[in-house]
């Protein structure tokens, strides 16, 4: 199937009545969960997975993708109105968005965010449409060594790019990988680390980890902060209209940062959060009046908003074309694919073109819906933020329970969910980042498999990883990404001394 035909199939899926309905549900739920401070896109996707059981996989994934970029889109609302970012990808949006809102120009700030997000999202979907098939056609020749090296790079990149201590991020990743080794080894049938329990023979389900480490742990923080006012609902939002000058000022940063965000989104480990910060800093550096930044600058709000949405589509490139997630959120997306019985990767474009192109095409429509949801309707949607915290907490726990139970029908898994919730809380308290954990958990099984396949091919000779150019380059890159933070720390120490 040619690319044009593929695109046509994609739009057929996306523009069907069902397609439109599920995109709308996805972006609406995503916007809503993204807005709630504390609950991020990972929780949003994980909570929505049970609803997709039994659904047509294409529609389910169209909806899940909508939840993801909808959450990034919606996260800016609470950054601007409350200075409490809904998700980490919109932290940078609060730098200038919140001051703008305090100056009584909340409407203008929301409009800038919505339009920048829309442009960033749309430009990056066009790029996604171009690059994903290209990468997939290259990746089709990848053997197990190259796949192993690619996943290693993904893990080392997320560990070295995580916030805070690199060593803690690496520990998170290793422990996540360890959890992935629980259960029957698929190659030899050896039961590993199940402590004689039949419940652990199949390993731990990814939804238990995703919901525990993210949704339940985030709920714990909501419990502690429940007294904080949800939102001043009656707050005057002001006019949503933008002047010609505003549009002119936005156009530069939005254009540039959409491309930068997309590229950063493709890179393993980066993602929306890092993209938004880098974009903010770049625009500040090249601005004529950098002093305006932080005081309600139009550019300072437009740049991270264009960038984080562009990064979201960028992150779909490795997921769709290689089948390998580069971030915690796309790792959970991969989990959603697998739950629905689909394996993303280079073969998906030819085997299941309706899924591959359907998701991409639906993003155009999703972005248009988001613009509509976020411009005229935002004052009404913001009222949803007034949902009382105590009720929200109880309902999130209930949704997590349904999700886990409906996939395993086991009460044992519910106890595990609680245990991982406690682990997630402890990790947050002691500054161990959770995204490397979930990525390593999801990649762990695949990595071990491709490693052992490679070794079987080579008859136990490890040099197979260095014979192939692609895997050699990828391994060098992953070693560099491990070493880079160490050099950086040594340098800063020297400077301090």
């Amino acid at each position: 199937m040619g690319a044009l035909e593929g695109i046509a199939t994609g739009f057929q899926v996306a523009l069907s009545l069902e397609g439109i309905m599920f995109v709308l549900i996805g972006v609406f739920v995503g916007t809503f969960i993204g807005m709630l401070p504390g609950l991020g896109p990972i929780s949003a996707i994980a909570i929505m997975i049970p609803i997709t059981y039994g659904m047509d996989p294409t529609m389910a994934l169209v909806m899940m993708a909508g939840v993801y970029y909808g959450a990034v889109f919606g996260g800016s609302t609470s950054s601007i109105l409350l200075n409490a970012p809904g998700i980490s990808g919109t932290v940078a949006s609060a730098f200038d968005g919140y001051p703008m809102a305090q100056q009584g120009k909340a409407g203008k700030a929301l409009a800038i965010a919505a339009i920048s997000s829309f442009v960033g999202g749309t430009i990056s979907v066009v790029l996604l449409m171009i690059f994903a098939p290209m990468l997939a056609s290259v990746a089709i020749s990848f053997g197990p060594p190259a796949y192993f090296a690619l996943m290693l790079l993904g893990l080392s990149a997320i560990a070295s790019l995580s916030e805070g201590s690199t060593i803690k991020a690496m520990i998170s990743a290793v422990v996540g990988f360890m959890i992935a080794t629980i259960g029957i080894d698929p190659q030899t049938g050896t039961a590993r680390f199940n402590f004689g329990s039949a419940n652990l023979l199949d390993g731990i389900d990814f939804l238990v980890i995703a919901l525990g480490l993210f949704a339940i742990a985030e709920v714990c923080y909501l419990i502690m902060n429940r007294a904080k006012k949800s939102v001043g609902s009656a707050k005057e939002i002001g006019s949503l209209r933008l002047s010609k000058d505003d549009m002119k000022e936005m156009s530069g940063p939005v254009g540039r940062q959409s491309f930068l965000g997309f590229i950063l989104g493709i890179l393993p480990g980066a993602g929306a959060t890092i993209a938004s910060f880098i974009s903010y800093i770049t625009e500040k550096k090249i601005a004529k009046n950098p002093d305006e930044f932080g005081k309600g600058s139009v550019k300072g709000l437009a740049a991270p908003e264009a960038s984080n949405n562009a990064a979201t589509s960028g992150a779909f490139v490795p997921l769709l074309s290689l089948g390998i997630p580069g971030s915690g959120t796309t790792a959970v997306m991969l989990g959603a694919f697998l739950v629905l019985g689909l394996q993303p990767g280079p073969m998906m474009m030819t085997d299941r073109p309706e899924v591959f192109w359907g998701i991409i095409a639906s993003m155009y429509i999703g972005n248009i819906f988001l613009l509509i949801l976020n411009l005229p309707l935002i004052p009404y949607i913001a009222r949803l933020l007034t949902i009382p915290r105590p009720m929200l907490i109880s309902l999130v726990i209930m949704f997590s329970f349904i999700g886990v139970y409906a996939i395993s029908f086991s009460v044992f898994d519910l106890y595990l969910l609680l245990a991982f919730g406690v682990l997630g809380l402890l990790m947050r308290m002691f500054a161990f980042p959770a995204p490397p954990f979930i990525l390593a958990f999801i990649l762990g099984g695949m990595m071990e498999q491709s490693f052992r396949q490679s070794m079987t091919i080579s008859g136990g000779n490890i040099s197979i990883f260095f014979q192939n150019n692609i895997s050699l380059v990828l391994i060098i890159l992953s070693v560099l990404s491990f070493i880079f933070p160490i050099i950086k720390t040594i340098r800063t120490k020297k400077k301090e001394a």
């Binding site: 049970p50 059981y53 039994g54 659904m55 201590s165 060593i167 803690k168 690496m170 520990i171 290793v174 422990v175 990988f177 360890m178 080794t181 080894d185 190659q187 030899t188 050896t190 590993r192 680390f193 714990c220 419990i223 502690m224 429940r226 007294a227 009382p388 915290r389 105590p390 009720m391 907490i393 109880s394 309902l395 726990i397 209930m398 329970f401 349904i402 139970y405 409906a406 029908f409 009460v411 519910l414 106890y415 609680l418 406690v422 947050r428 308290m429 002691f430 500054a431 071990e448 490693f451 052992r452 070794m455 079987t456 080579s458 008859g459 136990g460």
Partner: protein, 152 residues
């Protein structure tokens, strides 16, 4: 000696990796397999041990923000524990009472405990949500949630 929080965590992690390593070395191996089921776990165990040694000696400055994040007021510790207890009871009675009853009780009591004052609204939400979700899952998606003592 162990004033540093990271050092205490490092010791816990080292013990954990030792435990994991012991178990990995007990995994059975078979001849003629280049990389057996025990290879990756062993590597992971040693890696975690090395990382915990690294963490022990790392000069990770504990920022004020981190300290603040770790500090949970006593009142909140109690609320967390009570919610955990409610969740624990919810799990325990999930199958015997059935999804609807257990969920109604859980959602209502935890919302009440967490300080929501409008009991009528709470009652309506906590009864309607589980019933609607149960019907969607059981009758539309054909996914069985535990019926428990209720006849449907």
């Amino acid at each position: 000696m162990l004033k540093n929080v990271n050092q205490r965590i490092a010791i816990v992690l080292a013990v954990l990796s030792a435990f994991y390593l012991v178990l990995s070395y007990q995994l059975p191996t078979y001849p003629y397999i280049p990389v057996d089921a025990d290879a990756v776990p062993k590597a992971l165990g040693w890696l975690l041990l090395a990382l915990s040694v690294g963490l022990f000696f790392a000069k990770d400055r504990d920022s004020e923000e981190q300290k603040a994040k770790r500090h949970i007021p006593k009142k909140d510790v109690i609320s967390l524990l009570v919610v955990f207890l409610l969740v624990f009871l919810y799990i325990t009675f999930f199958e015997s009472l059935g999804f609807i009853l257990a969920t109604v009780l859980f959602v209502f009591s935890s919302t009440w405990y967490l300080g929501y004052k409008k009991h009528w609204v709470n009652a309506i939400v906590s009864i309607l949500f589980p019933i609607i979700l149960y019907s969607i899952f059981v009758y539309m998606l054909q996914i069985r949630l535990p019926a428990g003592i209720l006849p449907f």
